[in-house]
Structures are given as C-alpha cells and as structure tokens.
Amino acid sequence: MMGISCDEVLPVLGDRFMPESMAGGCVLFDCDNDGDLDLYRLGFARTADRVRECDEGANRLYRQDAPWQFTDITEQSNLGDRGYAMGAACGDIDNDGDLDLYIGNLGADRLYRNDGEGLFVDVTTAAGIDVAGWSSSVLMVDVDRDGFLDIYVTRYLDYDEKITGADAAGRPEYPPPGQFRGLDDRLLRNDGDGTFTDITETSGIVDHPGRGLGVIAGDFDADGNTDLYVANDGDANFAWLGDGDGTFKESALTMGLAVNIFGQPEASMGLACGDLDGDGLDDIVVTHLVHETDTIYRCDRPGQFSDVTTSSGLAVPTIDFTGFGIALLDADQDGDLDLVTVHGRVLRSPVQASAIENDYWSPYAEEDHLYINDGAGNFQQQVGGISLGSGGVEVSRGLAVGDLDHDGDQDLVVANADGTIRLLENRKASGSWLSIKAVDSTLNRCAVGALVQLEAAGKKQHRRVAAGGSYLSSQGQWVHFGLGDVKSIEQLRVIWPDGAIESFPLPEVNQQVVLKMGEGN
C-alpha cells in the first residue's frame, strides 16, 4: 500500500449521524484505460457545523502506476466530488470504450463521463438525472437490451436527523432503521443520446419502498432477460424479474428469495451471486446483521431458490457478526467460488481484543471472514484468512475485488466506516488461472451481463460480467477463473447480452485474455 492515503480517517462529530455508520464504499476500475486497476474512494464527512458537502469528505481517485504504487489524481481527474457519498458504479454509458461513473449520495446523485484519459466531466444535469435522498448501492446494466447501460439506484430510507437513538444506559446510539420510512429505488433508462429517463414508474418498480442497500443483476429465471435482486434492510428482499423491455415484476416470495427459511425478513446489506455448487445455476449470498446469519439462497431450478445456509456451513460462523461487503471469488484458484465477507457492527458492543485503536469506532469493529468452498457449496471458515496487517480489526463496509498486481489472483479492497481503505494482496492462491475481458466493439462495449463459460478437465464454470453486488462498491469488467492444476482448457464461449453465443479459440492458461465480439465462432 504505497502512495495512497489509505489511513486518512474521516472526521465524525459524535452525534451518531446514521449515514456515517452505513457508509464506506469504493470502486475498483481502470479509469485511464492503461490496463491496470485504479481505486476510487467514496468520501463522507461533515464539518463542525454539520455541513455535509465539504472538503474533508471529498471523494478521491488513486491511479495505479505500478503494482501497489498509487498516485492521487483527484484534482486532475475532476473526481473530487464533495457529495456525501454512499455507493457508486462504473460502466461505459456512452459506448466510447471507457468507464464512466455514477455516484449515489446522501443528497443529489452525480454522473461523471470519462474522456478516456482519466478526466471526468460532471454530466448530471445534461443527462437529465435528478435523484436525491439517500442512495445506496448502484448498478449499471442494460435492462431493455438496447445496447446502452441503464442505471439502477437502490435507495435506503427517508432519514430525519432529528430522530436519534440511545442504548439502554442512555448513551447516544445510531437509531434503528425501522424508525424511518423506506424509499423506492430508481431506474434510469439510458436513451443512448447522453440523456437518461427516469422509468421508475413505467418499469413497475415503483411503490415498493424497501430500505434498499444492495443490488445485483442476473438471469434468475433463465429466460434470457436481465433480472435484479435487491437487498433490503429489515424488509423482504425484492426479486425483479425482467421482461427484457425495461419492465419488471416483483416475485421474490414465490421464488423463495424474499425472506429466510424461518420466514423472517432480515437486515440485508450486501449481495453476491455465482454458482456455488457447480450445477450451472447461479446461487445468491446475502450478508446480514448480528443475530441473523448470512444467507445462502441455492438455485434449485430456474426461478426457484432454497435457503441452504445451515447445510452449507455458513450459519454458525456468521451469526455473531454484522456483514456488509461480500464477494464470491476463487481465492485459492482451485476451480470453485470462495466467499469473503467484511464486517462491522452498527450498535456499540464489547470491544474485541484485536480491534484497531480508535476511541470512536473500536466498539463497532469486527474481524472479516474468508470461507473456502469444497466445490459442492459447503463452506469452511479460514480463521485468520484475512489479515489486515493494519494493527487490528476495523469497521468494514465496502468490498471490491480485482487483480491489482497482475499476478493472476484476486486481491481485495476493503472500505471502512472511518473512511480508510485497505488493500489486501492474495498470497495463498496457487492454481492455474485465466482472466477474461469480454468486449463488444459497438454497443454495451464492456459487455455487462455477458456470461463467460469455460470448460476444463471436464468441469464447467461460468462468470457473469460486472453484474454488481457487494455493498456500496463496484469493480470493472474482468472475470476471473481459478483452474486448479489444469494446464489447458477445453471450451471457452461467451453468451452475449443479446443472447448470441460465440465460441473462442482456446487460450493458454495463466494469462489475461480479451475476447472481442465477432472474433469467435
């Protein structure tokens, strides 16, 4: 971690301003098209007189010049947005070959267009975007198959600063979210001409206030259309089944995705989606509050899920922790998806012995977890699997994944509630690997939603490109396959967002490969 002010702690005023306990997001993306991952830290702070848009809380962009060597280019990039930032997503909204950025704020959201060389222009007004309130996780995905990325903004609650909380001993504490009304999420259709139209109403997602915190895209009923799954804090989660034309129908209860196996809506925060048990169907994992387990919804057949948390071994290790950021990645590169969850309490609790020294945040700090998959969807926690090396456990919120040092394995970026960022290098992965970027040279150029399928040693794996997830965070469009001791692959194909299927020549393992639409068979 060099050249990056990752230890910059954002100030808190001590008045238990609820948004500060929920914030801490980041974006891991190639902002200047130079082939390596850069880091965007979302900022959130208030001045002593409680002004939210301030220099202390400005976002920061760090360009990676060499592995683990970062330079702060906030000023020259024009990305020092001073909004009270919560979540963000990157994607190529104008199909010009670079990644643009949408920032969900507590306040007015912002859209920045990338000029391709790392300079970003605020196009919020020109794009007709008018989203205010409390936005949380953001997702860019093409919901109507027109080749332009649309934007889904999850929104949390109608916060009123005057409502405060207290614990049983009378100490000020963050108020419970149940005291506030949930907000409708927003869906912004990309009109393809630089402008967006708010289709929240016409898409059907209106009138579903749900204290949304996380969102992920997939094809949960295998009908070829983009579906969305939304994590709600204390309310039943939403499964929006898409019709492919930008309209959706909420179906979570009948799909088994609304509430856990005990019929309880949980305090859902972060989301991850992937094939945990190798059956070719994408399962969903959700992080939750302490006294609730993280939950695994296994896809039994398209459109039907079961809560298999306990049989997967995830109940007991997660029940005592409050999970936020989450990622499915092949951490050990053995050919299946492992799980990382990052934690931090929302209510003051006994300080852990290993907590980082911070008078304010220590009572909220918890360790982060790595769980290794046995290939059949059973998870074993690796105690000490995530070592921050920063002097103690922290209050973690956001999590993004990517190969930061080009060594083939997946590294982690953790965003904390105090505004600090931790970069974690993967040093244990040993198997073969393949990283793939799918590119459409015309529309939806970063191929968001495309499914990359790979077969090696008779085993099939797939990854969906940049479909969102985690908590308040996002990452670029590379997908990563761990291959164990496999030395060659047998099949490689892409199902593009428009449904076209294309097979590609088989590359050597242990390299990064770009698959361009039309260059396969």
Partner: protein
C-alpha cells in the same frame, strides 16, 4: 464445547449436576479475590450510573457473595454493558452454581453476538432448572438459527408441553416444519400461533412465506403487506427476566424514560414486555397502567390501550396526563364523544395547559361547538404564544369561522415562528387566495413544493393562485415542474392538458401536446372518465379538429350520464359541445377557478 441436550438425557445430566453442586457447595472459598471488571460509565444516564455504583458498592462490601455479583451483572446487562455483565455473571456462577438466574441471564446477555457462549450458559441453567419454558424457547431459537433443527424442535416441543400459550414456541415448531418441507404441519403450528393473537410481525411473515411456498403469490404478498408497521419480533413473556427488569432497573422514573425510548426507537413490544410484570406486581399503580396504555397505543393495540387508559384514570381521577393522552387517543380514533369527556376532565384538572386547550378546542371545532372551541384555542395562544402549532390551530379555527383576515394573521405568525410548518403554510396559501392576495398565496404554495415536491394539492393550488392573477405562463411552468416530480399523477396531467388546450393566453396554448396528454389520460383510466374525454375534445378543438372534438365531447356526455353528477357540470359539457358544433374552441375564463 458444552451443548444443550433435550429430553431424558437432560434429567440424567441434571441429577449428576445437582449432586456435583451439592458436593461443591461449601467448598467455595468466599475470600477468593474476584476481580471487578472495567465498567465504562462515560455518557451513561446519571440514574444508571448511580444504580451501578450502588451495586458495585455492594460487591465491594461482599466480594464472596454470588448475589452481589449477580445483581451487579443484571444491572449492567439490562443497560447494555454486556461485556462487563458477562464477567460479573461468571463470578456469580462460580460462587453459586445452584442459582438458575445467573447462567440464564448470562445466556440471554450473550445471545446477541456470542451464540456459542449463550448456549453454554443456557446448558448450565438447564442443569439447574430444566422446566422453565422461556429458557427452552430461547434455546430452541438459538439452535434453530445454527441449523440444529432436530434439537431445536425437541426444545420447542418441551416448551409447548410446559406452556402451550407461548407463541414463540409454536412459531419455532412451525419453522422447524418449514425447514423439513412439511407445509401441512407448519400450517397447523401457524394456525395455533394465530389463535394466540400475535402482536409482532413474525407469525404473519412466516405465513407469507408459507403461502409463497404453496405458489399463492397474491396471498403471500397481501399477508406480508398486512403486517406493515407491526413490531418485527414477537415478545417472549419471561417472568424472571421481567422481574429482574423491575428490580434492577432504576425505579419508576427510569422505567418511564426507558419505555419512552423504546417506543421512540420503534420497539413498543419491548416496552410492553417491560411493563407486564411490573403491572402484575402493582396493578393498582395508575402511573404504570398509564405507561402500559402508551406502549399499547404505540403498538397500535387499541383495545389494550383503552383498557389501560381506563384503568389509569379510574385509579387516579386526578391524573391530568392520563386524561389528556386518553382523550387525544380517542379523538384520533374518531370517538369524539368519549374523547370530549376525557379532555374536559383534563381541562378541569389543568385549565392552564396550552396542549389541553388546543386539543379540546380543536375537538370542539370539529363537533360544531365553535365558539367554545375558538375561545379555548385563543386561550392556548395566550398561554403559549410562541408555539407555531397552537397559532396554526387557531388560524384554522378562525378560517373555519370565516374570519379570514384574523386567520391570515394567525397563520402568518405560525409560519413566522416555524417556516418549516408546511400545513400552516398551506392553510395560509388558501386563506390568501380567498382574500384575492394571489401573488402572496402563490408564494406560499411555491415554498411548499420546494420542500415537498410530490404534494399534489400544493401544486394545484399554486397553479390556481397563478391563474387567479392571470399569470398563466407561471401556471404552465408550475404544471410542467409538477409533471417532472409526479409524472403519473392524473390530476396534474389533466390540469396541464386543460391549460394547454383552453388557456386564455394564445401563446401558451398547444393543442397537440394537450391531445397527447389527454390520450394517455384516457388510456390510463381505462377510457371510463368523462373528464379525460372532455379534455381530449378541447384539445382537438384547439387544433381545429372539430369532428374529433364533437365525437369526444359526446362520449364525455355519455360517460357523465352513466354516473350523473352535478347538473351544472353537465351543462358545461353541453355548452362546450355546442361550441364545437359551431367550429369554435373552448376558452377557459380568466377569473380564478
């Protein structure tokens, strides 16, 4: 790791444990130095600090006393100082391994954040007392959360065998059945839960999932929607825990404060849970009855609230606060007769209370006793002249009595005191409009929509105020802004289309745009609203498609006649049709609507 074991094995374990405890009893060295854990009291309520200090002093005086440690632990536990509490419970358990309360309370304390430790404590408690239903229910819940369904079911079954009225136990059994995929059995347990009249949302939430698993999407959704606003968790009646709350809270003052905080934090069920045992011990205490009524009211349990309000006011006929809150509650429920009786009693007890004068005054205004109502509201304004809400209520009363200038002045005062009081601003806007002060009226409505951009009535009144002063361009601009914030709102769309089609200002009219909106309005209402066709006709006339206008105007009349209303309205429709038949468009009058 110790584990909870249900059934007959427990009996054996208990017997062994009892023997061991008996052997150990007396062997404990009371002089051993049990260290005092760090207790961080910074920022705590002073009453809590005082209580902790008292209990800590008791420990200092008798370090070998299990009860002293246990009592200190309970105080710490009840006030969210969990870490220190567990340390003290451990000392209490070590000093007296036969007292059920210490491991039981320690288990509850550890349940959130340390499930394994909680189960260990509960196992110790179970060895001491195996038939306490809340213990078995709590163990079942923890086991089920950890995926130990079989042992969880056994625990819930034991609970039900001992106490069939515990909803949490039946709910646990229903959940176990759901995990096993036995929907029929789950349904039976849910039936039992529902018969026990749950107050939280857990039962309904599981029922919704049950319907979902049966493929009944609509019933699942409506079941879930019906629990909106209910507490998320079902309370678990627990005599021992409640007694501890009563004994180790800091007395009635703190209970009241804690109850208020729980209610404010959206956890009224916990407040009720706290008051139940207190009332069981002191049913004649009017203040406790009153507090329970407040908690029940927050839970929206109206019958229970009424019962406890009645009890409180019967026990203490001088308790002004109870009469006032009861009266306000009844007033909000629409029971004006009973509300008046309670509020009059409150007023009798304290005629100088501005709140009582305001509420009783507002009620009397509602029940056509306007002179007396106005007089009370004027009293309230004298007593507390700087209260925006009181000035607002007086303004509204004056407006209702047609004293518009005075109403305007009062409402101006209210808005001056609290510029964010939108309802006062709204009423002020209406009064100003009635007084033909259109620009001032428009200013008030413009301020409202700046803050609350989805308030349809404010937008509509803003438009009317602009039109009142012939500021049709501003009216049009306001309607376009309103459409941005309320794109699906039919009245806004209708108003915009009407102004575009019939507005007095030729430069602002746009028949094509009006027609486009009118067509959408008709489609949106299933072509059943005469008003949509009336607008459509007017927009067609504006673009000189009089044949089309005549057709739509006739259709509007047909639809109107299917559900006849105001004859004057029908005449207006007829008049417009006649204009179209003469190839003339309709123009809105320039006077205010």
């Amino acid at each position: 790791m110790k584990r909870f074991v249900p059934g007959h094995l427990v009996l054996i374990l208990s017997a062994v444990a009892a023997l061991m405890f008996a052997m150990r009893d007396g062997g404990k060295d009371p002089s051993r130095d049990f260290s005092m854990p760090t207790i961080e009291t910074n920022g705590l309520h002073p009453a809590v600090v005082e209580l902790i200090d008292q209990r800590r002093q008791a420990v200092e005086e008798s370090r070998g006393s299990a009860n002293s440690w246990g009592n200190l632990a309970t105080v710490l536990d009840l006030h969210d100082l969990k870490n220190s509490a567990v340390a003290c419970y451990l000392h209490a358990i070590e000093l007296d391994e036969t007292n059920f309360r210490w491991p039981y309370f320690a288990g509850i304390c550890a349940s959130i954040g340390n499930r394994e430790q909680a189960l260990d404590f509960f196992a110790q408690a179970h060895q001491i007392e195996s038939d306490y239903p809340p213990l078995l229910a709590r163990v079942g819940i923890l086991l089920l959360q950890g995926g130990e369904t079989a042992t969880a079911r056994a625990s819930f079954e034991q609970t039900v065998a001992l106490d069939d009225s515990l909803i949490q136990a039946h709910l646990g059994l229903a959940r176990c059945a759901m995990v096993a995929g036995d929907l029929d059995l789950a349904g039976q347990h849910l039936d039992r839960c529902e018969a026990l009249q749950p107050t939280g949302s857990e039962v309904a939430s599981l029922r919704a999932q049950w319907w979902g698993r049966r493929g009944e999407a609509e019933r699942a959704r409506s079941t879930l929607d019906a629990v909106e606003g209910k507490a998320p968790r079902e309370p678990l009646p627990d005599r021992l825990r409640s007694q501890a709350t009563m004994s180790f809270g800091v007395g009635p003052g703190w209970w009241k404060e804690r109850s208020r905080r729980l209610i404010d934090a959206g956890q009224p069920e916990k407040a009720m849970e706290m008051w139940e045992p207190i009332l069981a011990q002191e049913p004649e205490n009017a203040q406790f009855q009153f507090q329970m009524a407040q908690a029940a009211q927050a839970m929206n349990d109206k019958q229970k609230a009424i019962t406890h309000y009645l009890e409180a006011t019967k026990l203490d006929p001088e308790m002004t606060e109870a009469f006032f809150q009861f009266g306000t509650f009844l007033f909000n429920m629409g029971n004006e007769g009973a509300a008046e009786k309670a509020l009059r009693r409150a007023y009798e007890l304290d005629p100088d209370s501005a709140d009582i004068c305001t509420t009783l005054g507002a009620l009397l205004m509602n029940t056509k006793q306007q002179q007396e109502g106005l007089s009370l509201l004027e009293s309230a304004a004298r007593i507390r002249s700087g209260d925006a809400n009181i000035r607002f209520n007086l303004g509204v009363a004056l407006k209702a009595m047609d004293q518009k200038e005075r109403a305007r002045d009062e409402l101006l005062i209210a808005v001056g005191i609290d510029p964010s009081l939108l309802r006062a601003r709204f009423e002020l806007g209406l009064v100003l409009k009635d007084l033909n002060q259109f620009d001032e009226s428009a200013e008030q409505f413009a301020r409202i929509v700046e803050v609350d951009s989805v308030r349809v009535s404010a937008w509509m009144n803003l438009v009317r105020a602009y039109n009142g002063n012939r500021r049709h361009g501003d009216a049009l601009a306001a309607l376009r802004s309103a459409r941005v914030h309320l794109p699906r709102n039919a009245p806004i769309a209708a108003e915009l289309a009407w102004l575009l089609a019939t507005g007095p200002d030729q430069q602002l009219r746009n028949g094509a745009e009006a027609q486009e909106i009118a067509v959408k309005l008709c489609a949106g209402s299933g072509a059943t609203m005469f008003r949509s066709f009336d607008i459509w006709a007017a927009s067609l006339a504006e673009i000189e498609d009089f044949d089309g206008a005549i057709e739509k105007a006739k259709h509007a009349l047909v639809l109107f006649d299917q559900n006849p209303g105001d004859p004057q309205l029908r005449q207006e429709l007829e008049d417009r049709l006649q204009l179209y038949l003469q190839n003339k468009p309709y123009r809105s009058p320039v006077h205010p609507q």
